[in-house]
């Protein structure tokens, strides 16, 4: 079974992140850039499927040159090879444009199963798997908390607020995963060494036959017009108890419409 995992490099959600004031896109130099956390679960699931079904796991990413760090993380966890689509013209692309690039790359790969995280921690648009499903004409089993693969048949438990939906489909298909689906493995030292020798194919928009004018900030379907930092925390209110502390507290909470 040929499995493609979609991986995105994002600014570390645990660090201070910023937007670039010149074009309101992510300032990549402002934070450590790491593999999107949800994608680690997708990689783990792909490796688990490979272990039970055989086949090959290919990592696919669209991003600047530095995104190779995220690719290497996935390869060191055990993926077999990677495709890195990188082109300056992609900078500032919206989800719709990016999905056209990823779909073009997937069309050049042989895949039975595409696995991706249900969302990324930067844009959190969370529509990529659905967009790809539409473009490629394959089913999308979304928000999986459990995936069972048996030959060409797929069963997914789709996580909901109250429980789960049972979904079934045949390959080829796209499965998006939540962080409830597994516990990603740590890359082993052997895996880290091996990853350095695994093939990474770099493709440009021209290689994919995608018109450079159809992507990028200038023709994006959505743009960030303005942004502002979170206001600093206020001083807070200090209640001094002079025998009426409880009344003052309740009065404050009532004024804030908390009680």
């Amino acid at each position: 079974m040929n499995i493609v995992v979609l991986v995105k490099q994002v600014p570390d959600s645990g660090s201070e992140r910023a937007l670039d004031s010149s074009d309101n896109t992510v300032a990549r130099a402002s934070a450590d850039n790491v593999i999107n956390e949800m994608d680690e679960y997708a990689v783990e699931e792909a490796l688990t499927v490979k272990e039970s079904q055989g086949g090959e796991v290919t990592v696919l990413t669209v991003g600047p040159a530095g995104a190779t760090d995220a690719i290497r993380k996935a390869l060191s966890m055990g993926a077999d090879k990677a495709v890195h689509v990188t082109d300056d013209a992609i900078h500032g692309s919206c989800a719709v444009q990016t999905s056209a690039v990823i779909a073009a790359a997937l069309s050049q790969l042989e895949y039975d199963l595409v696995i991706c995280g249900a969302e990324s921690t930067d844009g959190q648009v969370s529509v990529m798997p659905a967009l790809l499903s539409e473009r490629l004409g394959v089913p999308h089993l979304s928000g999986a908390r459990k995936l069972t693969v048996d030959g060409t048949s797929l069963k997914v438990e789709r996580q909901t607020d109250g429980g789960f939906w049972a979904l079934e489909a045949q390959t080829p298909a796209i499965v998006s995963t939540w962080d409830t689906i597994n516990e990603p493995r740590y890359p082993s030292f052997k895996g880290i060494m091996a990853a350095k020798k695994k093939p990474v194919t770099t493709l440009s928009l021209a290689d994919l036959g995608v018109d450079a004018g159809s992507v990028g900030l200038a023709s994006a379907t959505s743009q960030v017009l303005d942004f502002a930092g979170r206001p600093p925390k206020g001083e807070g209110v200090k209640v001094t108890d002079e025998g009426d502390g409880a009344e003052k507290l309740v009065g404050y909470l009532a004024a804030q419409k908390i009680v």
């Binding site: 993380k73 060191s76 493995r185 740590y186 890359p187 082993s188 030292f189 052997k190 880290i192």
Partner: protein, 389 residues
């Protein structure tokens, strides 16, 4: 400079390996330390994960299933694991020493049966030297191995053996020729601990590093096959010399990890704890001991790094440097946990505070893998070669 990251460099390992180690320690080791200390249980889940990552056999060649890295990487790993919990680092250290012995001296058959599964965390090991009458003076051991046909018959009792209660096999020192004694009369055997005539005698309850399983092993005419002999008969001391320095470097690294954990706990407390309207860190009485701790820790890291590089380079002084590193780092970490505890005041005396556990965990570092006194003996002999110092 922050106490939250290791200042011990690596050699073969790069940023990716260091990231995995740090992540593993932060996510899997540190959160479990308090519970492991309380229950004294063997951390089987951590042990299995360590095998998967490749934390067993850091300096064992890749072809034999190890990480193929160097003593400096081993020092880094020991420091980093011990920052999480010293009992976990101790497990790594034990496998490193037994693994190094098996890598260097075991037959291919022995390596397939013991080394490979050990490094994959499918087997656990022990290293059985100490006896009631034989501690620092290893030449005085009395456990006997006597040939009987193609077998050996093993009789004797080992005490304070790390992992004895849980190990699948032990590397056991026994006298094979009482006349030659320590000059060619002591051999090493690989003994399955579930075999006939072998008893796990008791389980010690210790002051610190309580998740490290320590107990006794009794061999009552235990019949072991001829191929259980490691390497050649009578070569035990030579084999042990090969791994002794690395073992001491490992405990030096473990001591550094305890020091760093103490520094991290104390600096956090000094900044968080308010007295007289300000963080107690504002008082030089609190801040200066921490400055001393940080300085001594950095010096210890430098000495340990120096010793590791000497081992890598095959320096003739490597063993002495490893003794110096072990002495300096272990004595240091005992001062450091004391200084850190003082910052906590009464809280530092209460179970549940990390610094209270560190205070107990540190004490054994001045004793195992050669006491501070034995390290000073080794060092003094290197600088006073003509005298029986």
């Amino acid at each position: 400079m922050t106490a939250l990251t290791s200042s011990v460099p690596t050699d073969v390992f790069g940023a990716d390996e260091r990231d995995v180690i740090r992540q593993f320690v932060d996510e899997k080791v540190r959160p479990l330390a308090e519970e492991l200390d309380l229950t004294e249980r063997f951390p089987a889940e951590i042990y299995a994960e360590m095998g998967k990552i490749g934390l067993f056999g850091i300096t064992v060649p890749e072809a034999l299933g190890g990480a193929g890295a160097s003593p400096l990487d081993y020092l880094h790993v020991m420091e980093a694991l011990s920052y999480g919990y010293s009992s976990v680092a101790d497990q790594c250290g034990l496998v490193e020493i037994v693994g190094s012995l098996l890598a260097a001296f075991a037959s291919p058959e022995q390596q397939a049966a013991y080394l490979s599964p050990l490094l994959r965390a499918e087997k656990t090991c022990a290293y059985a030297m100490t006896e009631a009458g034989s501690g620092s003076d290893l030449g005085s051991i009395s456990t006997r191995a006597v040939r009987d046909g193609s077998d050996w018959v093993l009789t004797g009792e080992k005490i304070y053996i790390h992992n004895a209660p849980v190990a699948d096999f032990a590397v056991v020192l026994a006298v094979t020729d009482p006349v030659k004694g320590k000059r060619g009369g002591i051999s090493v055997f690989i003994v399955d601990l579930d075999g006939q005539g072998v008893t796990r005698a008791y389980h010690e309850h210790k002051m610190g590093q309580r998740a490290s399983q320590v107990g006794g092993l009794v061999f009552d005419e235990a019949r072991i096959p001829g191929e259980a002999l490691l390497g050649e008969e009578g070569r035990a001391f030579g084999y042990m010399m090969e791994v002794l320095a690395k073992g001491r470097l490992g405990i030096a690294g473990l001591s550094l990890g305890i020091s760093r954990a103490a520094l991290a706990a104390a600096t956090t407390q000094a900044l968080d704890r308010q007295q007289f309207g300000a963080p107690i860190a504002a008082n030089q009485a609190i801040a200066f001991p921490l400055a001393t701790l940080a300085t001594e820790l950095r010096a210890a890291v430098a000495l340990c790094t120096d010793a590791a590089r000497a081992l890598i380079g095959g320096d003739a002084q490597a063993a002495v440097l490893c003794s110096m590193a072990k002495l300096f780092a272990s004595e240091g970490c005992n001062r450091h946990v004391d200084a850190a505890l003082q910052v906590f005041g009464g809280s530092g005396f209460i179970r549940g505070y990390e610094v209270e556990r560190l205070y107990r965990d540190a004490r054994i570092t001045r004793i195992y893998e050669g006491t501070s006194e034995m390290q000073r003996l080794i060092i003094s002999r290197s600088i006073l070669p003509r005298r029986a110092a």
